[in-house]
């Protein structure tokens, strides 16, 4: 039994580190943008190691319908290098925070020629094995509504109406009950004063607002009687 446990733990310890050493890179899947606007392409990574000082980010761009990629951004040894010759010259800005594992870039003044796939590759030495992640950019004149949004909106509105109706129903019941309670307490109070010594009637509910309303009603009745 013991040998079996020892063997299993050795096996697990042997397997697990190999699987956790790969770096995982996250970008969006698709981004929609308006013509002439700016877009922030986000890229972050997950690594089991601490963020090293030699962390590198690089972005490459592949136009739609082309098979070649061109490199447009590189960050290494604490310095960011942007495109100064290619299709994005003077339009790329580094807005990420390498210390927080963020390698996002900002692309300004978009054009229809910028439609394509942007690939982010991050390395965190000694953790360098990983797959680069790509985000597809689509530039529109007017941003279209996505297919599921209208359906979701209809469902949300109907459910919201239902919740509203339920809330209003319970609110009306609460208000009507409170009104009935305060009226009955004031009637009860008059009868007791006309009779012998008044003794404190126990409040049927422990609700402080209801008791306050009842006592304020009582005080109003008394002051009215005194004025008379």
């Amino acid at each position: 039994m013991l040998t079996f446990v020892a063997l299993a733990s050795v096996l697990l310890l042997g397997i697990v580190p190999e699987q956790t050493e790969a770096i995982a890179i996250y970008t969006g899947w698709e981004r929609h943008a308006l013509l002439g606007s700016d877009i922030r392409l986000s890229c972050s990574f997950f690594s089991w190691r601490l963020t090293s000082d030699d962390v590198t980010f690089s972005w490459t761009y592949r136009p739609d319908g082309s098979r070649d990629s061109i490199s447009i951004f590189h960050y290494t040894s604490g310095q960011a290098y942007v495109d100064n010759k290619g299709p994005f010259r003077d339009r790329v800005e580094f807005v990420g925070n390498p210390g927080k594992r963020d390698g996002s870039i900002l692309i300004k003044n978009l054009d229809y020629n910028d439609n394509g796939t942007f690939t982010c590759d991050a390395k965190n030495p000694p953790d360098i094995v990983g797959r680069p992640s790509s985000v597809r950019l689509l530039v529109f004149e007017t941003v279209p509504i996505q297919a599921g949004v209208i359906t979701g909106a209809i469902i949300g509105v109907v459910l919201g109406l239902l919740v509203l109706i339920v809330v209003i129903y319970y609110l009306m019941r609460f208000l009507v009950a409170r009104r009935v309670f305060s009226l009955s307490v004031s009637k009860h109070g008059k009868k007791k004063r006309e009779g012998s010594q008044a003794r404190q009637g126990p409040a049927p509910t422990a609700d402080p607002t209801k008791v306050k309303a009842a006592s304020s009603e009582k005080k109003k009745q008394e002051s009215r009687k005194d004025k008379k």
């Binding site: 209208i150 359906t151 209809i154 469902i155 109907v158 459910l159």
Partner: protein
Amino acid sequence: MLILLAGIFGIHIIGIIILLVATIDNVWWMTDEISTDVWARWIQTNGVWNLTDLPTGSHYPQDYLQAVQASSVLACIFSIIGIFVFVAQLFTLEKGQRFTISGAFQLLACLCIMIAAAIYTDRFHLDEKNGWYGHCFILAWIAFSLTFISSIIYFVLRKKTA
């Protein structure tokens, strides 16, 4: 008494399952190569099924499609809320009272699935000769009748024992 309760519970659960299958599974309209429903379309090319978007055009109106999607999802949601409300009412209702709220939810679910199935029948595939309605479409209409019967039972039933 317990058998009646189990039967009513069973009808409701079967209604929920049929609603879920009709909404999620991909078989509203079929031909030899395509299999489509309200969300996407499967096209078979060279023995491999590919998932594609629904066609947009005058014979596939977008707004009616969204109405069908929304109301079939709403029918599922109302039916599922209804089963929880029924179980709650089983324990909190006083003797002799009717299960009105559960019946109301089931009726709402019935209404929604009727809207979905009716719009689909009336507005889609009007002039497509080759092709037939798949099993999910039939299940949607069966779900309509099941939820209707279920809601009538809830409106008529009275709580016997406390």
